[in-house]
Symmetry: C2
Subunit: 342 residues, 2 copies
Amino acid sequence: MFEKPPKNSREKTKNLLLELQDEICAGLEDTDGKGKFIEDSWERKEGGGGRSRVLKDGLIFEQAGVNFSEVHGKKLPPSIISQRPEAEGHEWFATGTSMVLHPKNPFIPTVHLNYRYFEAGPVWWFGGGADLTPFYPYLTDVRHFHKEHKNACEKVHKDIHKVFKPWCDEYFFLKHRNESRGIGGIFYDYQDGSDNIYKGNNKKGKASAASKKIDKINLNWNDLFSLAENCGKSFLPSYLPIIEKRVKIKFTKEEREFQLYRRGRYVEFNLVWDRGTIFGLQTNGRTESILMSLPPLSRWEYGYKAKQGSREELLTSIFTKPQDWLNDKKLEELCIKNQIFD
Amino acid sequence: MFEKPPKNSREKTKNLLLELQDEICAGLEDTDGKGKFIEDSWERKEGGGGRSRVLKDGLIFEQAGVNFSEVHGKKLPPSIISQRPEAEGHEWFATGTSMVLHPKNPFIPTVHLNYRYFEAGPVWWFGGGADLTPFYPYLTDVRHFHKEHKNACEKVHKDIHKVFKPWCDEYFFLKHRNESRGIGGIFYDYQDGSDNIYKGNNKKGKASAASKKIDKINLNWNDLFSLAENCGKSFLPSYLPIIEKRVKIKFTKEEREFQLYRRGRYVEFNLVWDRGTIFGLQTNGRTESILMSLPPLSRWEYGYKAKQGSREELLTSIFTKPQDWLNDKKLEELCIKNQIFD
């Protein structure tokens, strides 16, 4: 049923994800100019461990967390077995690199990245993605982030971005607010080489219209490895130019307050809806590493409403809804009109 | 199977809970001296509505939220029907008052209260409780809060506090931190007049040792109404004296930072573990009212560790573990020794 992965599959993915962590940390330190990552190495009783890295109080980053982990064990949790019965009775292996950046300046977006690989007996899969959460967005920044990830996907197959972009919109959605977490990016999970690459956000997940049209894509193990590699490596070029462009913008106390308020939504998504976070917390994961995604400072305000037509209102009227950022001409005109195009 | 509630049961509980909201709001405004509650009345499409009240930026309270709601409908969610099949096919009614206070001064504890009543056909039950979350606790304050609630319970039955106190410890627990949310108080749910008053925190809930000893208590509808009344009315006298005693303490920037850090735990509990919050968010409840419990400002810090023997360390080594606050002599000595008795 499943293609056999190469003999050195575990070593290969682990090394890729270790390199990715190193590369990202080096790029971020270089860009920040002041903050340095502090590393915590940790071991897991049941097998494996990780290295958690955090940069605090940089010039640009209020907090940056970049985690690598490689864990293995003998017994899988029932939630995985019920989803993949073929994995039962086999020892398992999982490795991943994940990152969340919380910049100080509200004109620089918060951003998240995660790439991971899993193996148990005949079962294996890749998952991952990256998504951007701006507070005061510019359409050119949004387009740049999407374009870089689109290119990275298209190097592997011309159509997969059409699946992974809407999948991201579906996944990073706060149902209780009827808002997207941000402007999206790409997201994929359970990529095991079978031909329907859209696997849904849960067992009952329904493919979006866009995904359904193109569900006959065959990606083998090597394609999926390249995908993680391409997308992972496209992160710095997709994000650093946005910092460069926006870091000089002076922000007011009110804009900072708005950023803290919106960070509350980030907390809500991660603690209420994010499968990885909830699964980790409920199954005795390393709490400090899991919750490194949470912002250093966050605010809630009952009944907050942005002024009509304000920059703050444009965030929720345009940028927390799934959009065709790259092609929508009306959106472009709207952003030009509101001086948030470039 | 169920005792028939009095004819005016809905009116009676609704009025009790409306009065409770009024009484608490009046008491808190009076104590604060500056802040005033602003009321939002809202209606629910499917039937009923509520009044949400919030006080912001008072002298004592950074934020105080006190909500009343009375909602009804024709169709129950499957989660309730699976638990109480007798309710199926009946129209239902639910009313409740809930409150969370976030004081400015870290020497004044955060506190939560909730009393509620539910009816559908032959099925009815009461639930509720109150619990205290100090940052820099004193044992006398903790004892005072527990004593008042113990007295309120004992007016109804001499043994029920022995069930509702440990039930509170079980419910307000952050498994991913291995910490209690605070020093507890009382908690009860599904009180429907049947003789096992401990109904567990979920269908598979196991009674604590303390509860098991005394599960032959018969409380009828009127007893349970009195219980909500007594406990609800005991809130102000259980809490206001603590404010009075601690409000004059000057606090440092570091103590304020610690308070914000610990408020992060409050967010984690409410969004990850609190059944009511999660149920509300996932079933299209009024998000702003549900999340009024979240603190106005909150902080996370990767890898934070309090200095050994510090006031901050005493919080987690003593006060976030279930304890026999009223009777434990060793605890008393420990608090006297550390100058956190009175």
